[in-house]
Symmetry: C2
């Protein structure tokens, strides 16, 4: 059947065409597929299982900060979006508009939420009355739409899934604390769960969220030397409270405006994880989020039936490993050879392979093979669950170490404009250098090199210097990069 997606690779090598490699991996491992509407992807079961693992852990982390979940309508009346001037200017060009409903033209077009500040702040204005109601900390998991010209599965799609948190606080200090707390939640999640190291810090004025007072982001470094914004946390100041009329009575019975924040991560995290760890054989999934942590590949005897000795033992091992809390799949297809199965599951990034053949059964052992370095271990059956857990933990940790080294190797401190341009024309990566904080200078750098300020790291103030472009004083180093 020519219609069926081939299950064996033909994955373009990364060195040959990184972008094609990414697309091959995502499509051929069945993480996602293209749909009939331009820019909209289907998240297939294997990819969605990753999102479920991300959601479960992130949801727990969000709730531990005190936030609760809710659901707000996806339709936002045009007039609501228009209440905050910068916000509507930023998002209106990317909106999808519903103009017909129930067979008749609507009096007022409805935007499909590109983000929900307008809707949620309108409701907060109704719900909040007294200082006792603060802080308000609500999160929602939902789909959003931004009409994108160039799209790529997971990295930039017209419709995507995300969580968006929206909080209200009594003081400017609390709002800033919340903004930084969530930035740290995102940083911790990316490193601990996805083994994806990130650089965290504030954005420049030009790169901040439409309507925000201050935007913080976490940025990861991809294999082609381009940065990926992996999560954002915005201190919205009092601007949204003002635009949407949120106020409360403080302890002195004075009407005052609260401070607000918003923060989110999206299905883009999956794309970042793919690029951070994958190799020319396909995916490498961090064990903590891998839908399948161990795949068992039984090896049939040269003569005789594998149902007699091999398969029953393989099933028994699956039961034991599952009982130890591991996610295990037994590949008992009798239509494929072991060699095909090895390559197939390597492509799909399963962290550990367990091989069991006639000799292993005789010796009461099995073979464990790591996906990242192909290291083989012959393990007595009695120690399998413990060793598998150890190897998974080691693999998770090694992926993070390797990615950290890559991030460090990809960061170049430059001190001259020609050097900046040379690196940006070559290996790219993060370029650490001074910047005068003038938006015109930033725009010129972007114009010439496609690089933008990704973040201004926390310890930037410790390295004052001069602007890489104009030579004027720089209060602290920033990181430039070309970005996804």
């Amino acid at each position: 059947m020519e219609k069926k997606t081939p299950t064996l690779k033909e994955i373009t090598p990364r060195s040959q065409d990184y972008s094609q490699w990414y697309q091959d991996v995502v499509l051929k491992t069945e993480l996602a597929d293209y749909g009939p509407v331009k820019g909209c992807m289907i998240i297939r079961p294997y990819g969605y299982a990753l999102w479920e693992a991300i959601q479960a852990d992130m949801d727990r982390r969000i709730k531990e900060t005190g936030a609760v979940n809710a659901y707000f309508p996806m339709f936002i009346p045009k007039s609501f979006l228009e209440k905050e001037k910068d916000h509507v200017e930023g998002f209106s060009p990317e909106c999808a508009w519903v103009t017909i409903g129930g067979g008749t033209e609507l009096e007022e077009p409805l935007a499909i939420r590109p983000t929900s500040e307008a809707m949620i702040c309108s409701m907060y204005a109704k719900w909040v009355g007294s200082w006792r109601d603060l802080p308000v900390m609500i999160n929602q998991w939902c789909n959003v739409v931004r009409w994108e010209k160039v799209t790529r599965p997971f990295l930039r799609t017209t419709e995507f899934l995300w969580q968006e948190g929206h909080t209200l606080h009594a003081t400017a200090e609390e709002a800033e604390e919340e903004t930084l707390r969530m930035l740290e939640v995102y940083r911790g999640f990316c490193e601990e769960m996805l083994a994806m190291p990130v650089v965290a810090g504030p954005k420049s004025e030009a790169e901040k969220f439409a309507g925000a007072k201050r935007t913080y982001a976490i940025e990861a470094m991809m294999g082609d030397g381009r940065a990926l914004q992996a999560g954002t946390s915005h201190n919205l100041g009092q601007r949204f409270a003002e635009a949407y009329g949120i106020e409360y009575l403080d302890k002195n019975m004075q009407r005052v405006r609260p401070w607000s924040t918003s923060w989110g991560v999206t299905t883009r995290l999956i794309g970042g994880m793919v690029m951070t760890h994958g190799d020319d054989s396909g995916l490498i999934l961090p064990p903590r989020v891998a839908p399948i942590q161990i795949v068992i590949v039984p090896i049939p005897p040269r003569k005789g039936d594998w149902n007699e000795a091999i398969l029953p033992r393989a099933r028994e091992l699956q039961r034991r490993l599952r009982a130890a809390g591991l996610r295990v799949h037994l590949d008992d297809r009798d239509t494929q050879q072991p060699g095909f199965k090895y390559a197939d599951w390597e492509m799909r990034g399963v962290p550990l392979r367990l091989e069991i053949g006639p000799k292993d059964v005789e010796k009461n052992q099995a073979v464990l093979v790591r996906r990242d370095n192909r290291a083989k271990a012959f393990v007595p059956e009695g120690e399998l669950a413990a060793r598998a857990a150890e190897l998974l933990a080691a693999l998770q940790s090694d992926l993070l170490s390797r990615a950290r080294r890559f991030l460090a190797d990809s960061t170049t401190r430059v001190s001259a404009w020609d050097e900046f341009k040379d690196v940006m024309n070559g290996k790219r990566g993060f370029l650490a250098c001074g910047w005068c904080r003038d938006a015109a200078c930033e725009a010129a750098i972007k114009e010439e090199t496609k690089a933008t300020v990704r973040v201004m790291p926390r310890d930037a103030g410790e390295r004052p210097g001069v602007c890489i472009r104009c030579g004027r004083p720089s209060p602290g180093e920033v990181l430039f990069a070309q970005a996804y």
Copy 2:
């Protein structure tokens, strides 16, 4: 602050105005609120916590049948929706249409999914090639939009949340089995988790899903004598496979069409649960889905500080009950009296209240009060966790028994048309009677009494008789009711 929703009842009695009672309960317990777009509701944190409990358990049940989750785009091109004639006729009038995206008019309008058969079947046509690919069993949790004229929170809203499963099978028998399996999953869930008894069975031709071969439903009975369709499971036959070009090579290398099914439940379940158990004091939540199962209300001493003896003990009890796996909230507001708190948490339907005052502390005991019957129990501290768990189990079970009695009492077997009309003008409920299976007769009955065939129960064939309206032969009894 007049803006703040009052937290103490003023709930209209059910006997006075059932519909107003429902609305009061939903709004005043902060399950939901109205938004700025007609027909769209906000699911507030307390209501969303119920949806999360429903999702978690339903998702587990769905996965146990072998289905996996995925996510498909919400935009459906007009031409895709039009491929199945009955389907588009049924849904097109209720569609919301996106006509503008990214600032320009779209060449083809995009429907926001009212349901996803068109999108998912189109992808199945691409993915399925061989008999080895079957069965395909994919579910998705998402939002859908149907432009409704009359809306009510949870029961009928323009946008709502649901899960929709879509499966493909090699034979007609397997598709029918799957349809009935999911109907049974829904029935079991409603009874075991929501304590909401339902009647299950096939729909009449007039009431079936647009494009389905056969629709099965579960129907619950609400306090005002009207039926609520709480879940549906459709055998789609080969019609969608034909319309969307799905075929596969069978073992004989012949191209054949698979059979498909779809099935779903929605946020409507929350509305059904509210109406099934609530009373004039507000909600009564079944313990298995209640966001808070036990609320601790500390009673301050007449003289002195509650921080000395009462609050520390209350916190200790909360710790112990939580350690026993119960969901416990301590109401330590010092701005409200215990009497206010009792009424407030009763309104919010918390199944158990734990009171602890100075005398209880002296006696090493606490008081447990059931929400449904207000029965009080004085319980030694050492037995609290065990007794609380027992009482919660008893309450869950008693709610189901009470609802079952109500369902039985609300079902009237009628044998004459005048009797049918009398009951339908009075207490309503389910009317069990013969029906000739003629759509014209069904339409006439609806016209005169607003009642429709809800389901044709499984054992209907055991009771042949005559049509309640025209006197012609009836192959088996059906249940008529007015419906939400």
